[in-house]
């Protein structure tokens, strides 16, 4: 209790006429000065101005104030201003309380008398709280100047490259055996027309040459501890079995007796259990598909440089990083068998398989043929898995419309005689990409808008696509040689990522950002940032930008920084009272509470760097041992008592 020798200064702001127009500020100041413990109460046109701040500073020094109340605008606007003023005058800034008598009072009320009464109530409550406040010190923590980038798709590469170029140490990991992510499967990135693998190649080339970059493939994060500035991350790296001696000679592949569908070719072709994912793959060596490999050892015998060792075990790597960027990307929607005819014939393909068919380096050498024939009539069905289909995210996948129109142009340039129909819900070629839509139209592509999703029936050589054409008010059928399902983006492993990093997801299943509009590259956990399609459907260029934006946040946090300061408004355990019941540990959404021993006793302890001050633990603590700095029961109750005069 600071009650006896408490010396409080109260400052009421006019905010021009914003507050003073409705609230009788003089009356409030007079009233405040009558409250025991208040040494001085003043009012001024603009407390936030230089003059206003000096008023507070001088009083703190001259009148030896040990508590300050400012009644002004929203703390979101000027709490920092006044805190700094209080600090500069030599008083602990946590002995200051701000009251919002603008948004909460003058702006919401019209009756001068009642608004003034309310302002008095609010001021009285704040004074009561200040009497119970305790000085607090900011938490200062050393930072590790390195960043972990989880995922090596375009977004991850973009982030890693920026960070590495700026000089931070970067760890980039991917669960796949090679870098590059989803984009490596694309033949054209709309609208720039660069092949996906070629797009990421210079990024990867630059990155792997940098001395401050460490690449880990086949690797996944399995646990995260610590907090902003100093995360302790444990990574599991599955064995690659093949050493850097590999010369890509390919003898192993020839010797391997196992064949499985090749996912890098959209499963249109087969590959061996030991294989090279694609030409430019990094790391430049063969990989073994653990699920397919029978460990028969034929490859070992075939390898002329003895690069293969099947006895390698998985390993665990512990990293210390200052920040983490989550760029785990998306997975394309995989239609069910029979969904729009998929899986019933080789002539119903997904947009991904289309990419491979259009690629000069793809299974058909870039000739647009299926089953040896050039498909003449081609029907595209858009929004499969995003807005229509068996399991939808019910969210637009954003990039498909531009890609579809771009792909039709590509097909028409190869086979000008093709007839292309695009069945769509809405054409969403936003921004300048509308021009792709216009180009597709001008090249004779027929667009049919549907309300009810089309139906697909396989009939011998032809695939019949049924849809209602609204303009002519008739049901039409298109006998197609090929149907391309434009599949949406679904969250990639987001459930697992969300669990490990203690994040949350939006209704569509993608990872939730700190604020959809103004903090799209951050997560609610400080020091963990978000990039690319992990946060929601995104194009290649948008992922580049998102990656750079996430990197910017990490740079601001870590570049040339030795320490970070955190507000001490966090949860704190009274170890004397804690019974070690562990209820709080399970409550913390940020993994900030752990167990420690005081002698024989087990008690909870809060890592102030991880605690985000949400207060959940304090509410859950059954014994009252856990309290929230600045919002302790006694402080809140003092306010309640001051308001209502009731004994609580």
């Amino acid at each position: 209790m600071r009650d006896k020798d408490v010396r409080i200064g109260v400052y009421i702001c006019h905010c021009g006429t914003n507050i003073a127009g409705i609230v009788d500020v003089e009356e409030v100041a007079r009233y405040a000065s009558s409250i025991p413990g208040v040494v001085v109460a003043r009012h001024y046109t603009f407390m936030c101005s230089e003059t206003g701040q000096n008023m507070i500073k001088d009083d703190i020094k001259n009148l030896k104030l040990n508590g300050v109340v400012v009644a002004a605008c929203s703390p979101a606007l000027h709490e920092v201003t006044f805190k700094n003023a209080v600090k500069e005058a030599g008083l602990n800034p946590y002995l200051f309380e701000m009251v919002n008598i603008r948004e909460h009072c003058s702006w919401t009320h019209t009756d001068r008398r009642l608004a003034t009464e309310k302002a008095k109530d609010l001021v009285r409550m704040a004074i009561a709280k200040v009497k119970e406040l305790e000085p607090l010190e900011e938490v200062k923590a050393e930072v590790v100047n390195s960043v972990l980038v989880v995922g090596s798709g375009v977004a991850g590469l973009s982030a890693a490259l920026t960070l590495a170029r700026a000089g931070l140490t970067v760890y980039i990991i991917d669960k796949r055996p090679v870098l590059g992510g989803f984009v490596t499967r694309l033949v054209n990135i709309a609208p720039i027309g660069i092949r996906g693998r070629e797009f990421v190649k210079p990024m990867i080339d630059e990155l792997v040459e940098m001395p401050n970059v460490k690449v880990l493939t086949n690797a996944e994060v399995i646990s995260v501890e610590g907090g902003v500035g100093n995360f302790k991350v444990r990574i599991r790296q599955r064995p690659t079995y093949i050493s850097d001696l590999c010369t890509l000679c390919g003898y192993c592949e020839k010797a391997c007796p196992i064949e499985v569908p090749n996912e890098y070719e959209g499963k249109l072709t087969m590959r061996k259990a030991i294989y090279l994912p694609f030409k430019e793959a990094y790391p430049p060596k063969y990989v073994i598909d653990e699920n397919a490999c029978t460990k028969c050892g034929k490859c070992i015998d075939a390898c002329p440089v003895k690069a293969i060792d099947l006895s390698v075990k998985e390993r665990y790597i512990d990293l210390n990083v200052g920040a983490i960027i989550i760029a785990v990307g998306h997975e394309p929607y995989e239609p069910d068998k029979g969904e729009f005819g998929y899986g019933l014939t080789r002539r119903v393909i997904t947009s991904l398989q289309l990419e491979r068919l259009l690629d000069e380096e793809g299974p058909t050498g870039g000739r647009f043929i299926i089953d040896g024939k050039v498909p003449k009539t081609i029907v595209f069905i858009s929004c499969v898995g995003s807005l229509i289909g068996n399991k939808t995210t019910n969210a637009c996948s954003r990039r498909c419309c531009s890609t579809i129109t771009y792909d039709t142009l590509k097909i028409l340039s190869k086979n000008p005689d093709s007839h292309i129909y695009i069945l769509y819900r809405d054409i969403r070629t936003y921004g300048f990409e509308e021009e792709l839509y216009w180009k597709a139209l001008e090249n004779g592509v027929v667009f049919v808008k549907f309300e009810e999703p089309p139906k697909v029936e396989v009939m011998g050589d032809k695939i019949m696509v049924y849809v209602r054409e609204a303009t002519i008010n008739k049901n039409i059928v298109i006998p197609a040689d090929l149907v391309v399902l434009f599949v949406g983006m679904t969250p990639s492993n987001a459930g697992e990522i969300v669990r490990i990093f203690k994040l949350s997801r939006t209704a569509d299943g993608f990872i939730r950002e700190a604020h959809l509009k103004l903090r799209p590259a951050e997560t609610p956990t400080e020091g963990i940032f978000l990039a690319g399609a992990a946060a929601g459907p995104k194009g290649v260029m948008e992922s580049v930008i998102h990656g750079a934006a996430a990197a910017s946040k990490a740079l601001a946090l870590l570049l040339n920084k030795k320490y970070i300061l955190r507000e001490p408004l966090v949860a704190k355990v009274d170890e004397e009272l804690c019974s070690g019941c562990l209820i709080c540990v399970g409550m913390c959404p940020f993994n900030a509470i752990s167990v420690k021993y005081v002698g024989e006793r087990r008690v909870a302890t809060v890592n102030p760097l991880l605690c985000m001050g949400c207060g959940t633990c304090a509410a859950a603590c059954p014994s009252g041992a856990m309290e929230h700095n600045g919002f302790k029961d006694k402080q809140i109750l003092a306010q309640v008592r001051a308001f209502a005069g009731v004994v609580v």
Binding site: K376, T377, D417, H419, Y421, I427, Y437, W438, L441, E442, G444, V446, F447, K449, E457, M464, Y466, E469, T471, I472, K474, N475, I476, V477, I478, P479
Partner: protein, 111 residues
């Protein structure tokens, strides 16, 4: 599924080529906004909606029979309002004009 009308891509190509020769193939730009229908002074009066968008749809879908049976084309007065308002420059008026020729060549003459 017998109620469904079959789309005829080759007919679409045929008509498009024909129209191209007449310099009237801007219709392929049509993106179905419906402005022409509202702009047309006779569409509503004569109850021939959606005109001229529907006619363009017939071509796009290769529904030749529907097309040559469309008396609407013959009713068009070529006032040019539709082309004036069309935000896409698809020139529906020109299309109607050229289609008259097509109908006459392919339907009336053959009969």
């Amino acid at each position: 599924m017998s109620k469904h009308i079959e789309v005829r891509p080759e007919i679409y190509t045929k008509i498009r080529d024909f129209m191209k020769k007449l310099g009237a193939d801007d219709f392929i730009k049509c993106f179905n906004c419906g402005t022409c229908t509202v702009a047309c002074p006779i569409a509503e009066v004569l109850g021939i909606v959606p005109f001229s968008r529907k006619i363009i749809r017939y071509i796009m879908l290769g529904l030749e029979e529907d097309l040559v049976n469309s008396k609407e084309i013959l009713l068009c007065l070529h006032c040019g309002e539709c082309s004036e308002y069309c935000p896409k420059g698809a020139n529906p008026a020109e299309t109607m004009h050229a289609l008259k020729t097509y109908i006459i060549q392919n339907y009336l003459l053959k009969r």
